[in-house]
């Protein structure tokens, strides 16, 4: 290459090699850019690493464990391996034959020694209610039994004469189970192993899910109804007054939940302030005092109060950014105050309404403490039942299944919400 060539096209020699852009020291531009980018990414990652680790330990792993617990089913496979093997020859009709009972006796002997009968008994008791008694009693006697075992078992407890227990052992003798979800959805297995609805008097959860959903929607609607005007007022007042109002709105945040709830009890109970006032004023007679607490009304009133700030804060912050010139423009174009408000102002508050509604709805759908304190029987929500299974009945599998359904439900609702309004809000 002559000097003349280089002079006419310096870029060829300075920045290009093999048709690639290169930097001054000859490394390809892309590679060098990537290296610079990678450094930045690593630094950014280091910044969020502590939070990530914290979330991992305190949130993601427990949630994952909880969800796994809803299908985890180790008790039967680990304590009754021989029985399960022997039952492979069984056709599922009528009682199994002697080999199955013999295997069961062997398994129970070991289980009794290892003290694992208890968990097996609890697990089987979820499926059929006599199981706990049958297993504990039989396991105590099993070391004294001799062949043929079938008769001894039938003597030991009537459950061993019921084919259902063997059908259950066969069905649930797998490491993963669907049975918690089956019960969480008010279903059960029939004699042929099909999933069918529970007896009417034993259906609880689906109704409770629906009630929780409706109550959450109602509470969301009420907070919007109460929160919109106050946010609007605050956004149009001078800072001084707006701050004062904001304190009133935030007051519930600053008082203890228990204090607030007690205050509601004082106000709303049968001998409470409101009832006394109404009776005194003659609106109701003393025998017809209103039941406003320890029922659904109580839950709704208290939760609306507690969740109001979650609606007001996003609404207020959105309204604050809407310049008055939009409504003015609408008015100057001939819209009366109502039309200007409804057609021009409200649509611009939609991001705030959306954010507030999602926040309130999601918090209330999983709310536990207020319904527990003031909800009575009719004001219970699904979380209260989850807590019951966690703390009282100790059926963690069922609690986990109920919780997972709730979580999935919320995610689905959020997805639907995003589909419906998300695109529009992002545009605005």
């Amino acid at each position: 290459m002559t000097q003349g060539d280089a002079a006419t096209d310096p870029s060829m020699t300075d920045h290009m090699r093999d048709g690639q852009m290169v930097t001054a020291d000859g490394t390809p531009l892309k590679a060098s850019l990537k290296r610079a980018e990678r450094r930045r990414k690593i630094i950014a990652l280091l910044f969020v690493a502590p939070l990530l680790v914290f979330l991992m330990i305190s949130f993601i792993i427990p949630i994952g464990q909880m969800m796994f617990r809803s299908v985890d089913n180790p008790q039967i496979t680990s304590t009754l391996p021989r029985t399960l093997e022997a039952m492979e020859a069984w056709d599922g009709q009528g009682l199994p034959d002697e080999p199955v009972y013999a295997a069961l006796a062997a398994d129970l002997t070991i289980a009794q020694e290892n003290r694992t009968v208890g968990q097996l008994a609890v697990r089987l008791n979820y499926e059929i209610s006599a199981a706990r008694g049958a297993l504990t009693r039989t396991a105590r006697q099993v070391s004294n039994m001799e062949a043929p075992y079938k008769e001894k078992f039938l003597d030991a407890h009537r459950l061993w004469g019921n084919p259902e227990i063997f059908q259950i052992i066969k069905r649930e003798g797998r490491p993963l189970t669907a049975s918690y979800y089956v019960s969480a959805l008010d279903r059960t297995y029939d004699a042929d192993g099909n999933i069918v609805l529970q007896n009417e008097n034993r259906r609880i959860y689906v109704d409770l899910y629906i009630r929780t959903l409706l109550m959450s929607l109602g509470i969301t609607f009420l907070t919007l109804l109460l929160g919109f005007p106050i946010s609007f007022l605050m956004s149009s007042l001078p800072m001084r007054y707006a701050n004062l109002l904001m304190i009133f709105v935030l007051l519930p945040f600053w008082t203890s939940l228990l204090v607030r709830t007690t205050a509601w009890i004082v106000l709303l109970q049968q001998q409470g302030v409101i009832n006394e006032l109404l009776v005194w004023a003659g609106f109701i007679s003393s025998d017809n005092r209103l039941g406003m607490i320890h029922n659904m009304t109580g839950t709704i009133i208290a939760m609306t109060h507690i969740l109001l700030p979650f609606m007001v804060l996003p609404l207020y912050s959105v309204m604050k950014t809407i310049p008055p010139s939009y409504v003015r423009a609408a008015r100057s174009l001939g819209a009366n105050p109502w039309v200007a408000f409804w057609r021009v102002y409200v649509p611009q508050t939609l991001p705030g309404i959306g954010a507030g509604a999602v926040l309130v709805f999601i918090i209330s759908i999983g709310y536990y403490i207020t319904p527990a304190l003031v909800g009575g029987q009719s004001g219970q929500m699904i979380s209260n039942l989850i807590a019951y299974h966690m703390q009282t009945s100790l059926n963690w599998g069922l609690a986990a299944a109920l919780g997972t359904i709730l979580l999935v439900g919320v995610l689905v609702l959020y997805w639907v919400y995003n589909k419906l309004v998300g695109a529009d809000i992002k545009l605005g």
Binding site: S325, R331, L333, V344
Partner: protein
Amino acid sequence: MDNGNPSEAFVAFERVQKSYDGEELVVKDLNLAIGKGEFLTMLGPSGSGKTTCLMMLAGFETATYGDILLDGNAINNIPPHKRGIGMVFQNYALFPHMTIGENLAFPLEVRGMGKSEREEKVKRALAMVQMESFAGRRPAQLSGGQQQRVALARALVFEPELVLMDEPLGALDKNLRERMQYEIKHLHDQLGITVVYVTHDQTEALTMSDRIAVFDDGRIQQLAPPADLYERPENAFVAQFIGENNKLMGKVDSVDGESAMVRLDDGSLVKSLRVCVNEPGEETTLSLRPERVLVADDGKDYDNTFEAVVEELIYLGDHIRSRVNVCGNRDFIMKVPNSSDHHSMAVGQKVRVGWSMQDCRALDAS
């Protein structure tokens, strides 16, 4: 001050005062009559009360005292949406959740106009500002200049007779602003509407207006056509605010008919046009446009000639901007035309400068 005849005016402010806080008057005794078809600009520094006046006219603020008349009727108690006044806002205020077409259809819709008629008018209004092809877009998808055009079209689409504009071009860059000035002016001529326009940009005001009301401190300082405002400012504020101005402070020595002799602080005596002064002894400000100061070596007879020392020269092509020291005033600017027969000046050189009595206006003291 000739503020027009209120009884014939299309828009009239009569003794209007406005206070927001009950302590301070933001608008003090405003009297203004605007004729039908006129393009009137309210020009003034920020905070002088221009927007407040416009808002009172539009109905978004109430006058604390006085009457505002539209076509001879007091409109103080008519709500904004019944005034039928078009308005263009500084930030355009296009509804972000509606398309351009919907924005323009809005005023027609609220008037209960049928769909086909509405579409027809929207199309015509968009064509007027060369935005036909944008009807389906959202405001956020338009550039500032395009939004400005749409805002203009929206304020005009329902055919108001009066259109108010509050610094509508304030957010645009210089080139676009100049183009839009002409477009607005053309629309005004074409449609025969009355426009009340607010700006703090004097060039904009001078370019577009039939008359300009110069605002300061809640008062109209002067109301006049652009040329008058520049050539015949009636007080020191207007002289200083509009165009470039030389300011000489002094005391009236004697008064004679339309002229006044003014003694400057350094003792020199200037023959000037009597505008705001009445008797000897009064403090006054002399106002003199830089292009009216000439180099006095052509043997012509000037009312005033003085010795000046050239302090600084800036070559600007068509003229040379010279800062000279005259009568003890070192910030005195003159524009020397760049003509072939002219002496070239040099810094430190002494020159004789002169100006006529008519060009040197003796105004109030401030």
